[in-house]
Every structure is written in structure tokens, then in C-alpha cells.
Symmetry: C2
Subunit: 193 residues, 2 copies
DNA sequence: TTGCCCATGTAATACGTTACATGATTTC
DNA sequence: GAAATCATGTAACGTATTACATGGGCAA
């Protein structure tokens, strides 16, 4: 896992470097909070995964403990090597397409069910995606209301847009698929393709 | 991990049950091949994960070895319990939204890069997604050319549609995002929103 | 008889989740 | 002084990837 020859599976590291790069020095606790809020729809990690990873990253020279705050709070700062690693991953690493989605697996297996059951599954999917969509749009509203001059709201903005578009696409798919399974079913809104 | 109280993380099991349910009895080798081809864009697993899982599923009574073929080939058949488990997961389990996407993580961190680098990343993303799109459309063409009366081509058809729609959505996002970063950049095709 | 595909497994390692465990500081 | 939050860690377990290991059958 050297700085220049990377193979895969270090996304947690990259996410942490990204947050430290953008928001400045932070503790493991701070970063855990940011995982719960801002970056949550793109990558997840709990504190039990974050603390050991920070220790490894410090050992690898990607971050350093420049200061210690109250009650043992360790403040990590990204190093030059850390920034290089982050930039390298962003510019050189081509991610594998989105794989391993339980939702897509349900879509895949949908023909196993008979029409009434399949339609019920699609309704549940629609509800779940609508809830997610509202959540993401709420996040966007928060960003929009932040001080206009600040740059911070930009981090994650493109990913938010992408997530919203994907949610809308999934809703359209569910509507059209329900119509294909049963043309007489009430699509709720819109019209099938 | 009883049959009725399920929490999460048994998607591999479900995928195997789905394939066995739809295509009839098969060996671990057969199922590994199907993972490489048909179900690949939705869930992945190699033989080293599949063989032990089949053994556990047999121990749990979800499948049985009804026959043994040439050179130690074990033919698994889904049981009644297996079908129940599969149907239960499909109808009752609400999957968590698509999480942990390296592509979305790159989108999230894009503002860290300066415009020329960010645009280069978006171009690479576009190329990768176009390749994936072609692959999926190829799969759909194969399905379309199969005997019309057969049902088999239906398994996976809805997921294929969903995958293609998501790919198209990602392409549109990349185009619009590039235009937002640099309005003078050549978008290649189409016009920004 | 050499090489390729069929066919099945295990081992080592990494990644991720849940639960366990501890203690300091602030707030009511 | 009780409860909530701050703050950091480890342990146990499950899931996933890569590499290692073995042997049968068939075709050139």
C-alpha cells in the first residue's frame, strides 16, 4: 500500500484525508461526526473503524498529531504526503462502477414473484427512495442557506446532486416497471414511458 | 440468522437462492459462472466465497445435494425452506439505499481539485460509464434475441433497465457538472441544464 | 503428453459492524 | 449527584478478495 502503487480498498483513508484537507485539523471524534452528517450518503464508517485507521495513517506519515486538546483529544493535521496521496487517488484512480446494491438485487430477482407481490415490493421501494430524496434535498437546502461567500458548502455539493438525480431515476424506473407488470395499476403520478 | 428474523448481510445467500430458484438445480461451478455473467452488475462473488456459502446453506436446509455429476460435481437443488427464505427477503426486507460508492466519493471530493484536474476526472468518469453502458446494452441485446416464449430472459431484465438508466443519469450529471466548473469546456454532446 | 478447462476446496488478509469498555467534562 | 455528551479505544464476528492447492477429463 505505497503512496504511488495503489490497488483498491482505501476509500476510508481517502475520505478522511478529504475531510482533513478541506475542513482543516480535526479529531477522530470530529471526523466521526462528519461521517454521520455530510459524507454519509457516499461513504460510511463508525468510530471503531475511524480511530484505528487514523492511527495507521499517522504511522504512514499521511497525517500528524500537531496538537492535543482537552481530555485526551488528538487533533490530526494532514501532511504534504497526505495531500499527495489524496490528489493522486482523485486524479489517477478509476473507481469500479457501483456494485453490490441490495436494491438492484431485489430488482434483479423481481420476476420470481408473482405480479401482486412484485408490485408491493415496488411500492416499498418507491417509499424508501422518496424518503431518501427528501433527506438529500434537505441537505441541499442547508447548503444553499449557508453564507454565500464560504467555500465549505461546495464540498459534497456535486455528490449531492448526483445522489438526487439517481434517486429521481430510481423513482421513474419503479413507476415504469410497475406499469409494465400491471398496466392497470395506479402509478400514483406521472405517466409510463 | 434464523429463517424469519433476518437483519442484513445475507445477500449472497439470496442471490444464490434466486439463481437456483429460477434456473433449476446447479453446481457451485455453474453458479460461479452465472455470477460472472448475468448477475454480475448487481452482486459479485468468487468461487472461494460461493463454495463455503453453499455448504452452510445446505447445513441450514435451504438447499440439498440431490445428485452428483462427473468428477465430484455436486448438484444443488433449492428446498421449500429455501424458497420461503427467498420470498421472505424479497417481500419483507427493505434494503438500505446504495451506499459506499467510490465514484460518488470522487464526486464528493471533486471541489478539492482545481478546475483543470476536476474536468479531467469527469472525463475519465464519462469514459468509464460509457463503457459500462455499452456493456449493459449488450446484455440487453442478448436477452432480446432469445426465444420469445422463454421466461428465463426476464430474470435480471428489470435490474438491467435500472442499471442503464443510472448510467445515463451519471453521464448527464458529469456533463452538467463539467459545464458548471468551466462553462467554456467542450461538453462533447448535448447541452447543460 | 502437454495444456486447457472443469471442479472444488482452504488460507491469509483486509474491510466493516456491533458490542464491550473506560473515563473526563459539562449541564440540570 | 445524575444524566448527557465528549472522547478514545479494543474485541468478536461476519463478509469479501487474493492467493494457494489439488485433481479429473478432454483435445491438440
Amino acid at each position: 500500500m505505497s503512496i504511488l502503487s495503489y490497488d483498491g480498498g482505501m476509500s476510508l483513508r481517502i475520505a478522511l484525508l478529504g475531510l482533513l484537507s478541506f475542513s482543516g485539523p480535526a479529531s477522530g471524534y470530529d471526523l466521526t461526526k462528519k461521517f454521520e452528517t455530510s459524507i454519509n450518503h457516499v461513504w460510511q464508517a463508525g468510530h471503531s473503524q475511524i480511530y484505528p485507521e487514523l492511527a495507521k495513517m499517522a504511522a504512514d506519515g499521511l497525517i500528524t498529531v500537531e496538537a492535543e486538546g482537552a481530555r485526551g483529544r488528538k487533533i490530526y493535521t494532514i501532511t504534504r504526503e497526505g495531500r499527495d496521496e489524496l490528489r493522486h487517488w482523485l486524479t489517477e484512480h478509476t473507481p469500479p462502477g457501483p456494485v453490490r446494491s441490495e436494491g438492484a438485487l431485489q430488482a434483479f430477482l423481481l420476476p420470481i414473484l408473482d405480479p401482486p407481490e412484485a408490485l408491493a415490493v415496488l411500492r416499498r421501494t418507491t417509499e424508501a427512495v422518496e424518503a431518501k430524496l427528501e433527506h438529500l434535498q434537505g441537505l441541499r437546502a442547508v447548503k444553499g442557506s449557508q453564507a454565500a461567500g464560504r467555500e465549505e458548502h461546495k464540498l459534497g455539493g456535486y455528490a449531492l446532486d448526483l445522489g438526487i438525480r439517481h434517486a429521481l431515476t430510481t423513482l421513474a424506473w419503479a413507476r415504469d416497471t410497475a406499469a409494465a407488470i400491471d398496466p392497470d395499476a395506479d402509478p400514483g403520478q406521472g405517466e409510463p414511458a
